[in-house]
Symmetry: D2
Subunit: 414 residues, 4 copies
């Protein structure tokens, strides 16, 4: 009996070739596992494709709610944006796929798991590190990294072995998508001075063709998570989709950036994520209203750490757990409603309120109801500036001392 391998199956060329290749060249029985995180497509069709390619078994896991509730919510609470821009669309889904791979490997009694990533992307890192953390004894195979086939050669292999791949000329782009957004790579996008062509966008309209009337949306948050739109309670995943549709229709949510990959290279990446960006914008602003200043400052620093670790494949790490504990503590205060205005090309917060608000009009107003103690400010400013004043005096005293006795340039002690 052959050993078994559970393959993370996407239904595309590479993983379909991998099904056959793993069997043919490595003598492994392949279980194809397609984890549905909202990427769309006819999953049953893809499942059959894996069987036709020679899989011993093929399964589809509907992980859409799990993805929304266990991964995306955490990223939103962390306002996670890698390099301040990328909402971690693919980076978030990989650990979840790995969790199901590890479980399936256990279920099928497989010693191997496999993914279809190449050697220069981030996803290989996310797959292999997540699997090592979840199930350190599994052996991970990366056939597409190892075999060294170009895309043309993979096509040739598929034809030669009569694999069920549609032979229509493929899109020049490589796409990955799920509830939280959509990533577009390859082709002309690899020239970082060329504007992404219009035909790559699916979730965002052209800003110039946006509705001429602005739209308003009131997003209600509880403990850091959006729970209702304009007063209507919605499950998280539906709420994200609705915000995405609306914001995207106004041409909001396109990202075009140079990004530092884990493997040490810079790449040009293009995303569209109108829902993710709009919700992060609203959530972050509600934190401005409800989080104490120092807490906000430290959280903002840790958010970068969070985005980095998620991007770099370290989701199943004790650091992520500890950061989640920190964030969970902060989010107890993040309750309230944010009003956003959606116009062509922009989503902007124009109102926010909360029972937990730390904004006190009686303190902030310049009106006659002013409750702020103006006299206290005098003392405050005095001590706030005392270190600089002392420093300035020391510099001055030092400059005034006779040459040789020590000037600031080459100062000596008394």
């Amino acid at each position: 009996m052959s050993e078994r391998v559970v393959l993370a199956y996407s239904g595309g060329l590479d993983t379909t070739v991998a099904v056959r290749w793993l069997k043919q060249t490595q003598d492994l029985d392949v279980i194809a596992l397609l984890v549905d995180v909202g990427q769309g497509g006819d999953t049953e069709l893809l499942r059959k494709r894996a069987m036709d390619a020679g899989a011993l078994d093929a399964q589809v896991i509907d992980a859409r709610e799990e993805y929304a509730n266990e991964y995306v919510t955490k990223a939103l609470a962390a306002n996670a944006l890698y390099q301040d821009r990328y909402p971690l669309v693919s980076a978030l889904s990989r650990p979840l796929i790995c969790k199901h791979l590890a479980e399936a490997a256990h279920h099928y009694n497989a010693r191997y798991v496999a993914h279809g990533c190449t050697g220069k992307g981030n996803d290989q890192v996310r797959f292999e590190v997540s699997l090592a953390a979840l199930s350190p004894d599994l052996v991970v195979l990366a056939p597409c990294r190892g075999w060294g086939m170009t895309r043309e050669e993979a096509m040739g292999y598929a034809m030669q072995h009569n694999l069920p791949i549609s032979m229509t000329p493929a899109s020049p782009y490589s796409i990955d998508e799920n509830l939280w957004g959509r990533a577009i790579e390859c082709g002309v996008l690899e020239d970082p001075f060329i504007e992404p062509p219009d035909d790559i966008w699916e979730r965002t309209s052209d800003p110039s063709s946006a509705p001429s009337e602005p739209a308003y949306l009131e997003i209600e948050f509880r403990r850091g998570l959006p729970v209702a739109l304009d007063g209507e309670a919605l499950p998280f995943s539906q709420l994200v989709e609705r915000v995405e549709k609306l914001a995207g229709s106004y041409g909001y949510g396109r990202i075009d950036m140079i990004e530092d990959r884990v493997v040490g290279i810079k790449s040009r990446e293009v995303y569209e994520a109108p829902g993710a960006l709009a919700l992060i914008e609203a959530h972050a602003e509600l934190e401005h209203l409800t989080l104490e200043r120092d807490l906000l400052r430290t959280k903002r620093e840790l958010e970068r750490t969070y985005a980095n670790l998620a991007y770099e494949g370290l989701w199943f790490s004790p650091l992520r757990e500890a950061l989640d504990a920190f964030i969970q503590s902060t989010e107890q205060y993040v309750n309230g409603t944010v009003r956003v205005k959606i116009e062509s090309g922009s989503v902007r917060v124009v109102g926010r309120r909360s029972a937990a608000s730390l904004y006190e009009m009686s303190l902030a107003t310049y009106d006659r109801d002013d409750a702020f103690d103006h006299k206290a400010a005098e003392g405050f400013v005095k001590l706030w500036g005392l270190p600089l004043k002392t420093w300035a005096r020391a510099r001055r005293a030092d400059a005034a001392s006779p040459p040789g006795a020590g000037s600031w340039e080459g100062v000596s002690e008394k």
Copy 2:
């Protein structure tokens, strides 16, 4: 002979009242100093107003180029955004005004300087701390903080003393502006759930009324500073103005936020800064192309420190000097051209190139010219994930040890 005081004069109600009040109640000879940082207005008219109010002398300092070249350039190199949003419009100009106050105090042999800030804002901090750092022996007066007049009482004082203030009903808003943007406060804006009314905007059009055709702009940077637009070399201040006009006409650049003031309160602040935001966006993206990953990461952290210190009145600090040294070192690499697309409500980078680019297509491409060593990735991933794998093994081993033997009581994995 009376002692002298140099007053930071704006020409508004408060500082005009202060001219008379300082003379009348404190028996001080007032030198009114109006520092022009690009706030607009008829400075000669304002100068005369100060004289009419009873100043011993009144001077206008044209500091527009100094402001652009010594303050705004530094803030742009630092991508300085307080709380990730506010480009420090007022915060940047205060230290410059103080520099001129201190110089004038020296020139006029004055022991006192004065400002017109109240007790709950940030500006009092910026004035007093900057002056303490520049000239620790000067005594700073804050008449408006001390006298406790409401706006109505100040009006009354002006009428009673026949001060040359226009008595037309004033705007309900308090405005501060200069080359880098415009701040609007007070009135209905103090309710953070109410959208800012349309009539407050001057430098930004409504996104809905933007030109229907997008515009493109190629911004050339040298050593971190923009030097040319679409190939035309421009002085920095003119370049900023031109970018602001264009971006503002598309409805880009409005900011509406809850902000943490130095004095410990939250306030709702509204700004428009289309030029600042567009240039920071372009500059930051060029850094993505030209700065090495770790350098970029550390710089991004320090940028927050920079924005905080500028906001908090600590411009003339040794920390700012040291940060500038760091940034100056980084900016030697930030050369190249950024292409931005300006559409209704948005400014987005769509292209970037540089002779100093760290993007290498031969490494990044998924094409057949791929020069990346895919085999190296295998080893890299293995060691990259080794700490997590080790941690996972330890956790597992520990969970397997008999009760009492293990030290991880109750830490078993679910």
Copy 3:
């Protein structure tokens, strides 16, 4: 009937004078509250002294265990050292005292609370901010800051009012102490170039007079807290005392530093804290063994934040709560035994072991049992250095481009 004030009573000159002064000049009924955090002294004697001075009531709260278990444990888990040196001896006890002040104020139906701090220390900040956070409606009085008496004048006041203060010439030093250490201030210590005289030390011997034989101690930790010494389980407070006695007898634990106070001045501070320092040393080293690298790195950064906030009076803050949540998550792994060697003047970890150890000899050894994959290193190093290699190439390419063509004007390598 007079209003009531609960005074944080220490039994010293200042707070004893304050009892009478508050009654006499402010017409307040004084409840003196002495919170015992392990500072020693005859608390019943001190209680009577407050009554004799004119208090309406006087209470002693034994908060030693609460202090050890709710405050010191948290500081140890955070390895909290302000400016990398000071284990927060006084800073930790103030919030606890405030908690009891607020509770007593509630119990006695008092509108006021009072402390005996002057205006230039940190303790006034800790008292007032803690009380504001715990009970924002209480009014805090600071009689000693307000009355402006020198020490001599306070003595005079005490004599004049026949207050029960011993009139023997007082120590020139100001002492504060508790379970976690001892702080010595004032007198000759205010000259930062003069060595602290021998007579100030109480908890540490002179290193030169230490026992000639080293001692060893095995400290067992569970979830980040020490639970046993040399196999003997001990309550936390007793364990701290025992470690302190032993380490102190070897001359370990003296601290002499320039410290930045909250109020903006530098002061010279002298402490002795042999127990705190030895336990932090052991605890931190056990974290080196049991915490994953990235987790350790982030924790070390947050430890500074933790020490800063505790020092700066912000104990009862949402930031402290969130940091504690982070730390609690990390400490689940900090189990094991640390062996320390105690010699004259030094406490040094010489052994550590844990069921949760992340040290794997089979990976670390250079011996023949080596399980490390040396080939993986080759790929790892290649990608680890790729960003620098790319940067070096770009710099070189740019330097080679003809003048005018390149954007790196004057950036050529030397």
Copy 4:
């Protein structure tokens, strides 16, 4: 004609075997380069050994002063301690060796350079990344990582090829040392619970056998660097040696730690570095006296970044250059004299003074010369605590609202 390789030659077994092995198996002409960074030994003897082993040429570079002045000084200014403990003894010397390797490769027209590191240590990373940054076109060989010989096999190879290695039973330890300290690895030290045996120490005496009389040393710093001892001006390298000898003779300077290597494993490391630790202690304390609070705080954070990058082989990085620019800016203030007391097992600062001191006795004293404005403190504390007070009020208000209207647990906006 064979291609040439420049080998970093230490004179030990591995690199001597490598000379022959590179020639024999790779058909390369070997130039052996021994860079003297103060590791001691008879360099001429070692040079001949390389020739005898078959090198085409062998050179000794005396880089001791360059190491002291270009590397160690920077590390001291940065107070660089990896994981707060290790003063980077080996990590600092590797980049310098690489600089000479690259220069020699240029001189000898060699396409290859080689080092003798194995695959699990940090040094391979430092060599290969430094060389990639300095000379990206050089090909780096790592024969000892590739050949897979155990120590016994290497000995066999040496005997078989009659290589000039002394065949006396070698020390069980692996040593690396230079001006800044000494590292001891392997053997029994690989068990992290076993105390390092007495015979490994060379630069530190046993604390118990230290002189009974303490010693004092006044160290004068200029611009962050020590320039004189007890008034005697000394070149930096001599000064370091003298401090090391004195501190080491008192048993100070032993380090025993679990350390996280770049390659993802934890190792147990033992160092002795009395000079480095004593000078860092003194230098850091002088910074407490002369650096403004916020500057000190940011510098301390960056120091960790600095130590990390040096440890991780990233010395020749733009980040290191930018950090050095920051540090250079700070060190202009670090002038003055530090008095340290050296007792058995400890080096402790007991005095510090500076013409640039920011300690002002008139502000710090509790004496009658007190110049501090106690009234200002009242206002300061009020605003300092205002965010917490506001937060406490909001929490309380929220808790007081009727159930359903929103409690803190599950709060909803008004």
